[in-house]
């Protein structure tokens, strides 16, 4: 009974860049035409509407006493509907961060983007959201650093998480 794949039994034909670019292999290209319009629903609908107004909003569950952001109409721990809307501050603390030198579509960046998970003041501990940090030398960013949201001017806000342009350190 053979089990271990001897070298000649492990098959596969690696293709290298050059012959591909030289057109030595047949290829078919297709651009998918997929469009979606997602229903925001109650929780996220309000979240985006408040962002447009320059505010961060959360939902609270009275049973486990958590204030949750991003807001949700159900508490996933207690499995019951959440109870009320709670406005939060637009300040927070960096829970974790990175300095990213590659864009989402794999282009090299000279200046790194600084993605971070930011714990929002007023929400329960550990309640973070994903966003980006700017206006600080990348090497100076620290976990625990206090940051403040920088909003786009009202006419530019559309009801999106990008209505906050970025977060920056709170100046003491």
């Amino acid at each position: 009974m053979k089990s271990e794949p001897e070298p000649n039994l492990v098959r596969g034909t690696p293709l290298h860049e050059k012959p591909l670019r030289q057109g030595k292999t047949f290829t078919i290209t297709y651009t998918p035409k997929l469009r979606y319009e997602w229903d925001m629903g109650q929780a996220i609908g309000r979240y985006l509407a408040e962002l447009k107004e320059g505010r961060l909003i959360a939902r609270a569950c009275r049973k486990c006493e958590r204030v949750m952001i991003p807001p949700r109409m159900f508490c996933e721990r207690c499995f019951r509907p959440t109870d009320e809307w709670v406005y939060l501050k637009d300040t927070g603390k960096i829970f974790t961060f990175s300095l990213c030198y590659v864009s989402w579509n794999v282009k090299r960046l000279k200046q790194p983007e600084v993605p971070a998970v930011i714990e929002i003041d007023g929400a329960s501990p550990g309640m973070g959201i994903l966003h980006v940090v700017k206006r600080i030398a990348p090497k100076k960013v620290r976990i625990g650093m206090a940051v403040q949201a920088v909003w786009k001017p009202k006419p530019e806000r559309i009801g999106s998480v990008t209505d906050i342009a970025y977060w920056e350190p709170i100046k003491k």
Partner: protein, 390 residues
């Protein structure tokens, strides 16, 4: 662990062409709450969860990421099947019979209204080298199949029209249905061709909705607050994924699946023993193709006569798609099979209201995953605890 498995709860939203006020998470939360209430359980008691979903139906990759919270499944065993809900039922049964779980939840939903390019989406499922370059509307593949099916079996266009009239009329008695309409076959036969011989009125319309089903092992089922619907038989199978290698006349995937299910349920004479059939009718002709594949009719001629005699109507000898089917309820994508399960469960419990059939002891649900697949599943439910485990 036990060999016998039953459905002890169902929860579902009504089917609608669009649900703009609810996100998919909120839709799922609604159905889950209803299911757990019906089953008399808390989510903390559930051992395992199965979601039936396709990433590209949702527009999100790795869709299982977004399912645990609204089902009470956080930090629990949970997985996705990229299959119809009936495959999920089979999955849950196998988990319970293996001893790894006693209480399993199966969920499927549709937010078809959020897909703005549905035909391009189906096109994206076609073979990129052999089929897509032809640029056909995917309904053409159903048209091709319908044509040869009619040709080989002798089933006629008016039989297909009868299916539409029957199912949409049946839907009038189903509060969950999205497309109830009292129509005559003549209306169908004057509807425009989408892809000859397939007519527009013969194509089920997509809808939004969510269904959640709770399955339990024997011990828990016997203590359940509602009458358990025992899973007597399951089966699922594929024919070829390649258009060029498949049987275009026979729905073999359904035949292979149902043979397994009949064997497990010890059913010798399905027409006599099974009271109602919930069979895929994404396209009207599919209902007929599936009825033959399920071994209920030996050929097209026999089936044709039966339709002409009204036997598959709600008040006939062999009611098919009393729920209204996909033509009458709407097609909630991968949740289609689960809505048929819901119908069976309601019928078995005597809770089917205006649709209630007398003496329901066994029901069969069958699903098909739509163009371009040859994937389907069968589940047989019954009021009596099976002697032989399914």
């Amino acid at each position: 662990m036990s060999d016998r498995v039953a459905i002890i709860g169902v929860g579902f939203t009504s089917l609608q062409p669009s649900t703009p006020h609810l996100s998919f998470k909120e839709l799922m939360f609604e159905a889950a709450q209803k299911a757990y209430l019906d089953a008399g359980i808390q989510p903390s008691e559930i051992d395992s969860f199965v979601t039936c979903a396709e990433d590209l139906n949702e527009g999100l990759s790795i869709f299982d990421e977004y399912t645990p919270d609204q089902l009470g499944a956080v930090q629990k065993p949970m997985h996705t099947l990229t299959q119809d809900g009936l495959h999920g039922i089979a999955d849950a049964l196998m988990q319970i019979r293996s001893g790894i779980a006693e209480l399993v939840v199966v969920e499927a939903h549709s937010k078809a209204s959020n897909i703005k390019t549905p035909e391009w989406l189906v096109d994206y499922a076609l073979d990129p080298v052999y089929n897509r370059p032809l640029g056909l509307n995917p309904h053409a593949l159903a048209g091709l199949e319908m044509n040869v099916f009619l040709h080989e079996t002798g089933i006629r266009a008016e039989h297909c029209a009868q299916v539409v009239a029957k199912n949409r009329s049946n839907a009038l008695r189903n509060p969950v249905a999205a497309y109830p309409l009292a129509l005559t076959p003549m209306y169908v036969e004057s509807s425009t061709y989408v892809s000859y011989p397939l007519r527009e009125a013969e194509i089920a319309e997509r809808v939004d909705g969510c269904a959640v089903v709770v399955l339990a092992d024997e011990k828990k089922a016997l203590k359940a607050q509602s009458k358990p619907a025992w899973v007597c038989g399951v089966g699922f199978a594929n024919d070829s994924g390649t258009l060029e290698s498949r049987d275009w006349v026979r729905a073999d995937y359904a035949r292979i699946a149902v043979e397994r299910a009949y064997r497990q349920a010890s059913i010798q004479n399905p027409r006599e023993e099974i009271r109602l059939f919930e069979v895929d009718d994404t396209y009207a002709y599919k209902e007929l193709q599936h009825l033959i594949a399920l071994g209920l009719f030996s050929d097209g001629a026999e089936l044709g006569r039966s339709i002409e005699a009204g036997e598959t109507k709600a008040d006939g000898k062999m009611p098919v798609n009393v729920s209204g089917g996909a033509l009458g309820m709407g097609l909630p994508l991968e949740a289609s099979g689960l809505y048929r399960i819901v119908e069976l469960v309601l019928q078995l419990r005597g809770q089917a209201g205006a649709r209630q059939l007398p003496d329901v002891r066994l029901g069969l649900a069958q699903s098909w995953r739509g163009v371009p697949t040859t994937s389907g599943a069968v589940v047989i439910l019954g009021t009596e605890r099976p002697n032989e485990p399914a």
